[in-house]
């Protein structure tokens, strides 16, 4: 057996190493989130640098979703890049994790005049410049010139086109439910989302802006539930006369759409709509800042000629001024990239997005408030004030005085003592030495698994759990003992009557349990039915059915979950199309808890049933045919055969899948996040989404997130014990 095992392990390792040939010298390493044209332009610029200086440049495209985690893991161990490209608004988070160094001679004082003033502001924090500004991004107004020959002077002019553009044509489409796209309205009324210190989307200005957004949708000027995809589709197919979007939309429009881009209009009785500006900067890591070549490369990216390449090839609104001045003299070129020029013009009026960590915590409360207003569920003032309360709750400072570690130590000590007591008691049991002796052969089969799991599974989890005793962000962790747990379990100090109120820990727990039960029951039922049906001997197309039925599992869930979200769209979704065809009323799926929950469940059942089906198919193979034949001879009906023979025999294989399936569903964050996103108002969130929010959207409070994780762990452990007891009892009775 050892030989066979050793062979398999060696094979696996050899396979893993096989094409692992080494790369050439790395030179300066640059990480970036670019794709497509922007990536090509960056590669061209990097090879120009190599040609000029002889220094090799290694570029690595990192997916946006993994970017932050990768930077945080690699840079503190000096495994990171020398230089990385990132939108500027993450600067606050980079500074708190010590991931960036001042730009130094990559951006000397003499260069300030070289770049757009706004872009320089964006990469500056308290007087220190941290990046070389490369390109700006903001939103502007796309106008379909076939439908609207004249650019509207105001948003209200545009709204008045309602009904004059032909059937099924919306005057305007934009992601009204997203705060990023709502900010221009907010700015027009004189409001803001963040005042430099705290949440600021409150007061009469913010109310007016939110009411305006609601009216635009309610009066049919803007379609309901507009997602980024829908904006693209409606504008590209000529069903929207105008769209608010960024430079990325231009690349997705078919050639036959005649359009132009202008800066955002004004609002009558208010001011000009000014969007947020984000600036892609070249940031030096502490490691890279020490290398003169890395600093030279950062500056080289923004060099006049290189910026020209990035503009022409990468379609970037570059922050280097000289590129734009030159083009004034060459109208033929200017006409060529009129879109880019329009975005450049729009960027000059935009407001650089604040960079502080506190700013990042405003998004979710602001978005929940905005959506509540748009759904018409409360007045703007109420909803916005509620958003502010939520923000303040999130940002509440950890206790200023560190509590004594005594209670925690006592708890840990007691646990260890109990374990030691148990172990000693066990060891002093008379038969123990003999038992241990008898166990030796079994350990040979177990030790390698134990070791692997200990190092690669248990250790990281313990490290995670340990952070739950700390509060604050990574730069200033502070020992707080059990405070995080107390906070969560007492609903952040709310009075007892509010413990089941909206968004509380206990209500979320109820939702999570319901979510788990409904999903697992559906998974097992469907999996069992399909598994058994597929075993019927007369099926001709069995192989085809099987392969088609595992499709939901085989296609990456990221894209299919979004396909499902699209299917539940109020106006354009397939589900409502079918309902209307059947003569029913269309449903606003994400406006109510019950329907939003149903949408999540429909998606998750779809994703999960093939897994159970395959488990059942595998388990069925181990049922000997003669047992069923015996049942047949005894005159059992099919139901009896299933209940008394098949099901008990499926049990040992099905049970672990059901138990683990429940655990995984309990922690299934992706579907909730991608389909309902917690809509409406965070009510469909499950416990683990809360943990993720604390870790990634709420001021990066990892301690709080870890405490959530430990509590989830405790709940599941408790649940499995109870279920295990029940399982044993029924087994005993059967």
């Amino acid at each position: 057996m050892r030989r066979a095992l050793a062979f398999l392990v060696a094979l696996a390792v050899a396979l893993a190493l096989l094409p692992g040939c080494e790369e050439p010298a790395r030179g300066i390493v640059v990480w970036h989130p670019y794709r497509g044209a922007e990536q090509k332009a960056l590669e061209t610029v990097a090879s120009a640098f190599t040609a000029k200086t002889g220094t090799h440049v290694t570029l690595l495209a990192v997916p946006y979703d993994a970017y932050a985690a990768k930077l945080e893991a690699a840079i503190p161990r000096d495994n990171g890049p020398d230089l990385f490209i990132s939108p500027h608004e993450r600067l606050g988070s980079y500074l708190s994790n010590h991931l960036v160094a001042p730009a130094g001679d990559a951006f000397p004082d003499g260069d300030v005049a070289r770049y757009d003033a706004k872009a320089v502001d964006a990469v500056t924090d308290r007087g220190t410049r941290y990046a070389v500004p490369l390109a700006s991004k903001c939103v502007a107004l796309y106008i379909n010139t076939t439908l609207l020959p004249e650019a509207p002077a105001t948003l209200d002019d545009l709204a008045r086109m309602k009904g004059k553009l032909g059937a099924n044509v919306w005057p305007l489409v934009y992601e009204a439910q997203s705060v990023y796209f709502h900010v221009p309205l907010l700015h027009a009324y004189g409001g803001q989302i963040f005042d430099g210190k705290t949440y600021a989307m409150v007061g009469p200005e913010a109310s007016q802006a939110a009411d305006k957004a609601r009216d635009l949708i309610a009066s049919g000027v803007v379609p309901p539930e507009p997602s980024g995809d829908l904006v693209k589709q409606l504008f590209a197919s000529g069903r929207a006369a105008a769209a608010i979007s960024g430079p990325w939309l231009a690349g997705d429009l078919p050639a036959d759409v005649r359009y132009r881009v202008v800066p955002l209009p004004s609002i009558e009785g208010a001011g000009k709509m000014r969007p947020f500006l984000t600036v892609d900067g070249a940031f030096l890591t502490p490691q890279g800042a020490r290398l003169p070549e890395a600093r030279a490369l950062a500056r080289f990216f923004a060099d006049g000629d290189m910026a020209k390449i990035r503009r022409a090839m990468g379609k970037q609104d570059v922050a280097t001024k000289s590129v734009w001045e030159e083009h004034v003299d060459r109208p033929e070129l200017r006409a060529d990239d009129a879109v880019l020029a329009a975005f450049h013009e729009a960027a000059l009026e935009a407001v650089p997005m604040p960079t502080s960590l506190a700013m990042r915590a405003t998004w979710v409360p602001a978005e929940q408030a905005l959506r509540k207003v748009i759904r018409g569920q409360s007045t703007a003032k109420e909803a916005l004030d509620e958003g502010r309360v939520r923000y303040l709750d999130i940002m509440r400072a950890p206790p200023t005085k560190s509590p004594s570690p005594a209670p925690l130590m006592a708890l840990l000590g007691l646990t260890l003592l109990a374990l030691a007591f148990y172990a000693v008691k066990r060891a002093r049991h008379p038969g123990f030495a003999r038992e241990l002796q008898d166990s030796k052969p079994a350990y040979k089969y177990v030790v390698h698994s134990a070791l692997t799991i200990l190092v690669l599974v248990v250790l990281p989890l313990l490290a995670g759990a340990a952070t739950s005793f700390f509060a604050g962000t990574r730069d200033a962790p502070q020992f707080v003992g059990l405070t995080n747990y107390v906070e969560i379990l007492t609903v952040r100090g709310a009075p007892l009557r509010d413990w089941l109120s909206h968004g509380s820990f206990y209500l979320t727990l109820v939702v999570t349990v319901a979510w788990t039960v409904v999903n697992v029951v559906a998974h097992v039922t469907i999996g069992l039915i399909l598994g058994l049906l597929l075993a019927r001997p007369f099926l001709k197309l069995r192989a085809l059915y099987r392969v088609l039925l595992i499709l939901p599992w085989a296609v990456p869930s990221y894209v299919t979950a979004l396909a499902w979200k699209g299917m539940f769209h109020r106006q354009f979704g397939a589900v409502n199309a079918i309902l209307v065809w059947l003569g029913a009323e269309p449903v606003s799926w994400f406006a109510k808890f019950s329907t939003a929950f149903t949408a999540n469940v429909a998606t998750n059942v779809w994703l999960g049933f093939p897994f159970m089906m395959v488990v059942v198919m595998g388990a069925l193979t181990s049922i000997p045919k003669d047992v069923l034949e015996a049942a047949e001879v005894d005159g059992a009906t099919r139901w009896q055969a299933f209940r008394l023979v098949t099901l008990p025999l499926l049990r040992p294989t099905l049970l672990p899948a059901v138990v683990l399936g429940s655990v995984w569903t309990f922690n299934m964050f992706n579907v909730v996040f991608l389909v309902s996103g917690g809509e409406p108002d965070g009510s469909t969130d499950i416990l683990v989404s809360e943990a993720y929010r604390w870790a990634f959207a709420r001021n990066a409070q990892f301690g709080y997130a870890a405490a959530y994780a430990v509590i989830i762990f405790g709940l599941l452990a408790l649940m499995s014990r109870v279920l295990g007891k029940i399982g044993k009892d029924t087994e005993a009775k059967a």
């Binding site: 390792v13 052969p441 990456p556 990221y558 294989t653 989830i712 762990f713």
Partner: protein, 289 residues
Amino acid sequence: MSTDVAVTDRASPFERIAVNAILVVAVVYALYPVLWVISLAFSSGSEPELRAFPVPHNVSLDNFRIVTGWGDSARGWLFAKQLMNSLVVSLATAIMAVAIATPTAYALARHDFVGKRSGLRTLLLTQMFPGVASAVPLYLILDALHLLDTRTGLVLVYAATAVPFAIFQLRGAFLAIPVDLEEAAMVDGATRTQAFLKVALPAARPAIAVTALFAFMSAWNEFILAATLIGRESAFTLPVVLQSYVGEYNTSWGAFAAGAILVSVPVMALFYVAQRQLISGLTSGGVKG
């Protein structure tokens, strides 16, 4: 409920139609969202129209060309290499997870030993801790083991994550196999190890195939750890490449969908081939090898 018996193929025509009808409904449910993805992948320029039945708009292979780097030899090679990485890493994960889990699962099914119950409990407990931020600790451990930025490290991590479920799954399979067969072999002079290798292992083959498929799938679709633990583009796996079509503000859905289809084709093929292992015991009968 009709009263004829499950084992024999005495299904009435009505029953045949009913069974096929249920399966067709299930296939429609399974297929519909995927059709949307397919239509997205084959459309060029704009997005496909949202309508009840998804049909591609301006049928073209542009998205597939973008994803595979068609016509750009350097990029094409890179894609081929990344595909190879994905295959190698996922296969190695499947082999390694099964190799680690099988003996342990057997011991847990057949032996009694000190620490068995607490071991089983710990195994279950590991699955209950949500991995909110386990990427960074894992990074530190692999760094300490000098396995950062290697396929071996990635395979180790994936296999370790897949092992607990694999052990449970295989232990269930071993429990379902009648112990008499092994006992008979041992009466005939086989050692415990021989009984495991020659009798129990072949009998558990279908379950091993299923378990290997699970481990393969977990590695095949994972991207956060792969993107965090690997630092060279030529060593990336396909999901990392796919995920990079998702940007902060917009996503190239066409390219993502095309990539998603390319990623799922090998899985379907593998499953089609592995089906033989899964052909129901109800028809093939008993615990043959």
